[in-house]
């Protein structure tokens, strides 16, 4: 998160909130007109909050959170005022024209001014209004001529490769490589935009390696994305030109990345391997990555075109992790239901745990729940930062909103260092959540149990898993899935 404003619900804050939004958006990389649109959307929502959220409380406050990644900016307004449902306040142009009643006009503008507008009702936990806009920059196909984009490197070269750490000047070559090898089908849209790649390097959001022929032609790229809230990195962007495959380049690059990650004091690397086939999982295992979690419906099927196969359902991915440094003993509260599998995963990762017994019956206070929406993958990540006695109530209110927004799946991360995790899992199971896996060091270097709720039906036979541990994870998930949702195997 870039910034958080906590404001009193008074009209005097409207101008400041929209001014800050505009400046922040421009600095992040939005065009002036898109920043203005976003600022106006914020203006409209703030005006509604100051007028209607706290009619009897002069001290009511609300928060505005500002976040961005390489592709998008996201502004979230959060308030705990009067109940509200945007769908009950539609704008009617004819009514406005005739009577001057412009009810709903503000929300009508908001919907048109941003790329995505999501309203999340968290019940007693408050309400969130999320605004998202894409950061526009030049696509590689608009920068280079077709002849340059389509040109293939000589395929007969043997052994004459140079592997080097990424530099800013590599940005255009990375985009070229991605386009040459995947056309428009690579899932990370930002890799087609040299400026976005550059910005990510300048901001130290990623590091990586480039492989070139001795003639300087780019033939391979592999990068690690730094986690924003933990000392771990995701091994996530990889491409080798087809003419240069089966020459060990992917393995050389991954070796180099592991070395770079180790010397940068990262605790661990993890990768998300697709389960349409097991090739990536096999490569990962060769480098001692351990299966930790299986994420069902993590990405829409339409994005997978790289290997000329039709895949008939949302893509599921296996999270695999390699620990890079000695890690302190993990004091964890393991839920009874998942003790066996979690112990197995910890053991294979080489992590030592000290199992604690919870002494609370129910959590107290109110829950602090982070909601992170992946607009491209159509999933939502929920992270429990602090337990309260209202977690299941909040989730009960929130899940329908997420389902309506065409989420394929919701992932819920529960802190294993909190004793409440050992208690609430059974209640979450009743809400429909099933096992996903262990997410070690995932947030603020703490371990989390990930549960998941897929909204889409899946054929588990189409999900291919390589390692024995991965199969054990899949078996547990399949068992829970069929018990909760499916009638027959």
């Amino acid at each position: 998160m870039d910034a958080q404003l906590t404001l009193k619900a008074r009209p005097t804050v409207i101008g400041s909130a929209s001014d800050f939004t505009y400046k922040w958006a421009v600095n992040i990389g939005l065009t002036q007109i898109d920043a203005t649109r976003l600022a106006l959307a914020v203006d409209e929502l703030v005006a509604d909050i100051v007028q209607f959220a706290y009619p009897h409380d002069e001290e009511g406050t609300f928060d505005i959170l500002f976040r961005h990644d390489m592709s998008r900016v996201e502004v979230t307004l959060f308030e705990t005022g009067e109940p509200f449902d945007p769908d009950r306040h539609p704008y009617d142009r004819d009514r406005a024209m005739i009577t001057g009643n412009f009810e709903g006009a503000g929300l009508e503008l908001v919907r048109h001014l941003v790329d995505d507008f999501i309203f999340l009702n968290k019940g007693k936990g408050g309400k969130e209004f999320r605004l998202s806009k894409e950061i526009v920059s030049e696509h590689i196909v608009d920068i280079l001529p077709e002849s340059e984009l389509r040109r293939n490197e000589p395929a007969t070269l043997q052994g004459g490769y140079v592997l080097s750490p990424l530099k800013l000047e590599d940005a255009e070559d990375i985009a070229k490589l991605i386009y040459r090898n995947y056309g428009y089908s690579y899932p990370k849209e930002e890799l087609y935009h040299p400026k976005k790649i550059e910005l990510a390097m300048v901001r130290k959001e990623k590091f990586g390696v480039m492989v070139r022929t001795s003639a300087g032609e780019p033939v391979g790229y592999f990068a690690v994305m730094r986690s924003t809230d933990s000392m771990i990195g995701e091994v996530g962007e990889a491409v080798v030109s087809p003419q240069h495959r089966r020459r060990g380049l992917m393995k050389r690059m991954l070796e180099a990345l592991i070395e770079m990650a180790q010397s940068s004091d990262m605790y661990a690397l993890f990768g998300q391997a697709i389960t349409v086939h097991t090739i990536s999982q096999q490569v990962n295992q060769h480098f001692n990555f351990v299966s930790c979690a299986l994420l069902l419906a993590e990405a829409p099927p339409v994005r997978f075109r790289a290997i000329n196969e039709e895949y008939p359902q949302a893509l599921s991915e296996m999270i695999e992790m390699r620990i890079l440094q000695p890690i302190d003993i993990r004091k964890v509260y393991l839920p009874g239901r998942y003790k066996t599998i979690l112990r197995k995963i910890y053991r294979q990762l080489g992590l030592t745990i000290s199992e604690q017994k919870p002494n609370l019956e129910r959590p107290a206070g109110s829950t602090l729940l982070d909601v992170d929406i992946d607009y491209e993958d159509q999933t939502a990540d929920l992270i429990v930062r602090r337990y309260g006695n209202d977690l299941t109530i909040i989730l009960d209110e929130l899940l329908p909103s997420l389902r309506e927004k065409s989420c394929n799946a919701v992932y819920l991360d529960l802190p294993l260092h909190s004793q409440e995790t050992a208690i609430v899992v059974d209640e979450l199971h009743e809400l429909g959540f099933i096992f996903s896996g262990l997410m070690p060091l995932m947030h603020r270097s703490q371990d989390y149990l990930r549960m998941q709720l897929p909204f889409t039906r899946l054929d588990m036979d189409l999900i291919h898993v390589w390692s024995e541990l991965g199969k054990a994870i899949k078996d547990l998930i399949t068992e829970e899935l069929y018990a909760l949702y499916y009638v027959e195997k």
Partner: protein, 104 residues
Amino acid sequence: MHYTTSKNSIDIQLDKDFNLVAAQQIDVLVGSKNNIRLDLTQARLVDSEAVAMLHRYMLEGRRVILKNPPKIFYEVIRILGLHTQWNLDELIDPSSDRHYSQIK
């Protein structure tokens, strides 16, 4: 906010965005005057509260002229379906630097 006023007219130069707060302040200054001229050169935004106030003035038969509304103003009235209902030739001061005829 600067303004000059006569018996039935007011000329206001807005020094900020034309939002809820500005609309409320303008409404107080305008009172019952029938000829209203708003200079929006310094405004980056015009929001739905401002648009609603302008429409109310027009319904009441008052004459409103806007000078240099920001580009976003035209987008707002298009989204709200007012661009075909309002007479922009009468509404927008033709001497505006940011005239709608120049907006693509």
